[in-house]
Structure formats: structure tokens, C-alpha cells
Symmetry: C2
Subunit: 211 residues, 2 copies
Amino acid sequence: MARKTKEEANRTRQQIIDAARAVFHRHGVSRSTMEQVAQEAGLTRGAVYWHFKDKTELFFAMREDVFNPLTVRIDAILLAESAVDPLDSIEAALKELFRVLEESPTIRQVLDIMVLRCEYVDEFARVQEEADRPGVEFLAKVEKAYQRAAIQGCLPPGLGLGPAELAHDTWAFATGMLHVLLAGDFERKLRISVDNMITNHMALRREIHRA
Amino acid sequence: MARKTKEEANRTRQQIIDAARAVFHRHGVSRSTMEQVAQEAGLTRGAVYWHFKDKTELFFAMREDVFNPLTVRIDAILLAESAVDPLDSIEAALKELFRVLEESPTIRQVLDIMVLRCEYVDEFARVQEEADRPGVEFLAKVEKAYQRAAIQGCLPPGLGLGPAELAHDTWAFATGMLHVLLAGDFERKLRISVDNMITNHMALRREIHRA
DNA sequence: ATGTACATACATTCACGTATGTATGTATAG
DNA sequence: CTATACATACATACGTGAATGTATGTACAT
């Protein structure tokens, strides 16, 4: 074959990323070969190696292709100052996160790959750090929301925990939910929806449920 | 070399498992080679292949070597009927679980391998199911403990959530804690101990903290 | 005409599985 | 008790496929 226009080349690049996502999800990152990715994209290894130096670089590209838009989306809800009750912001942000996971196969696949189909060693050790960062930043933002809630008197008296402690608990909750969800068969095992679990989690720190 | 007594052979087998744990943890499961495992154990691939059919079988052996004792240990605490307040049993079981993780490098390594250094595809897809099972069983036992707590009146009135919902939340919490912990640098990022996080989590469902 | 965007071809490495060798433990016959 | 026969517990050697990276070919956009 021959040279394409820049636009066509960019589409080819995106095709390779999409193919990588499918192949990584099917066989796991380390067992996936550049040949498989190329075939999935309807190309040859030559094309793949032209666009990406090696598998690691391809992996990073696939990750950023999806992650950045997602964090922006969640932060918009979480940081919305307009909310009357910051607890509602936290609840809405959590629900939006998991709603997106259900609705977008692409995002779900990438998360799936990063959690269950990738080994965080050697070159991929730094992937882990970058994969953690959104979570850690999420924690900080949740804590600020809880702080606003405390100031506005939205937290029940006698709760015993401050914003930091509540945020930590919510963080662990969200992290756990994500992993349990990706492990599969969530609804079958729990017989409860993710949405309800989030409602319940937040209910534990709302005024209305106190005696 | 030549034949050893059965006892010596069993020690060799254990050495291979120990070596596998070290190598898997260093390079990840899929990038680890039987040659590396053999060298780590001071043997050759012949010995490894004699004791284990392939890498998958070795992986399973390594897992069971550690997991079964752990679940027994945790269950003993969780199911102790002697406890006055079942909430204390849950709290103690959680604390024990994470205490063991801190104190036993072996257990921590195996968990680390299973969470961060293994790709759950193809032959390892069933590993995931088996890895999930202890968690699911843990969920069921925690729910029963919450049920006992409800019957004994240990749950605060007006809490709004039943035993099942509380158990789900605790399950997500524990799962999240485990993953956050294994991701590393826990204390640096949170500036709080695991023990305190568990105390706080349980405090959210204790009578004494209500207004 | 030149560099771009690929395809093709090639060399190398590497891990796997297996086949085979071998020395020793162990059981049994006499 | 001891000699022999067989099983065991490895080490060694070999063949094979597969993936990688690179080098080279080629057609087209600019």
C-alpha cells in the first residue's frame, strides 16, 4: 500500500488504538501481540510500529484516549458549587461514574484492562502510578465536598467523623465498588443495583436517617 | 542428581512454590519463566516440570498454599458466636485481615501478585472466580453478623439500612481498602492508619455515635 | 523530488514442552 | 540379608513455534 493523507493517517492511528483495546481485553496485555493488534485493525505490524514505538507506548495511548475525558466529566459534577447539599454532589458524581461505566463499553473495556488484564511490573510500574492519580485526586475533591457539607451543616450532629474520615470511607467504598463491578456478575451476586448501594452509602451520613 | 526421600521431595516442592512467589512478584506472572523459577529455587526446569505440569498449575499451588489458612483464620473471628456485639466481630475480623497483610510478607506478596501482577484471561479466567469466592463468602458471613446485630438490638434505631445493605457497604469498603493498600504508599497518601479507617467505618453504624 | 505511510521480508531471541539420561530410594524375592 | 528390579526425582539436551525489532521495498501526497 501507499501513503495516505494526514487525516487518513490519523484515522489509522485511532483504528490501531481501538484494535489494541479489543485485543488487550481479549487476551490480556502481555499475551497480546502486535501482530494480533495489526490484524484486528486490518493492517500489518509495519503500520503499528510506524505509529507506536512498542506495546507500552500503545498501551499508554489507549489509556489516555479514554481516561482524561472521564475525569473531566466526573469532576464537573463533584465540584459544582451550585449544589445546595454537597452530599448530593458526591452522590451524583458517584452515580454518574458508574452509570458511564455501564453505558460505555469503551470506557468499561479500558478500565477492565487496567484492573484485570495488565501486570504492573517493569515498564508498567509507572502505569500504576498514573492509574492511581485520578483516584487520589478524587479523594481530595470528595474531602473538600464533605468539608463544605460540614460548614453548611449538612452533616448530622453526633456523627463522630470529620470530613477527612468520611472521605476516606467513601474513597474505599468507590474503589471497592469499581473492582467488584469489574470482577463481573455484580447484580447476580448482590441482588442490588449499584445505584442503590451508592444511595445507601450516602444515607449513612445524612441527617434524615438519624433517629 | 538422583532420587530423594519423600520428605526431601516435599521440601523441594515447597522451595519451588516459594521461588515462584518471589519471581511472580518481581516480573509478573506472564513474564516469569519456568527457568527463572527454577534458578530462584536453585534447581533446573526439569525439577519444576516434574512437580508442576505448567505455570498455571504452579500458580494455583502458590495461591492455595496461602489462601486457605488465611480464610480459616478470618472466619474464626467473624463467626465467633461468643461475641457480645456482632459489630465487634466484624470490626475485629477486618482489623485482623489487614494486620495479617501488614505482618506477613508472604501473604502480602501473594495478594499483590493476584491483584496487580496477574492477567485474568484464558486459563486464568477461572482463577478470578476462585479469587472472588473468598470475598463473596466473606460478604455472606458479614451479612449474617449484621443480622445477629440487628436481632440483638446492636444497630441504632432510625439507621435506615438493613443487614444486607450494611454488609454490601462493608464489603465494598473492605475490597476498596485491600486494593488501595496493595497499590502502595497508603499511609503517605491518606495520613491515617488502616486500623482507624476500619474503626471509623464501623462507627458509622454504631449506636453510640448517634445524637 | 522527497518524505510519508504503510507492507514485506528477515534475523534473532526466547520460552516452552518433551524426550532422554541418570543416580538413587524402595520394595520384594530368595 | 542382600541382590535385583522398578519407581522416583531430578538434570540435560533438543526441537519448535512464536514474537520482536529492524531493514528494506513501494506507492502516493505534497
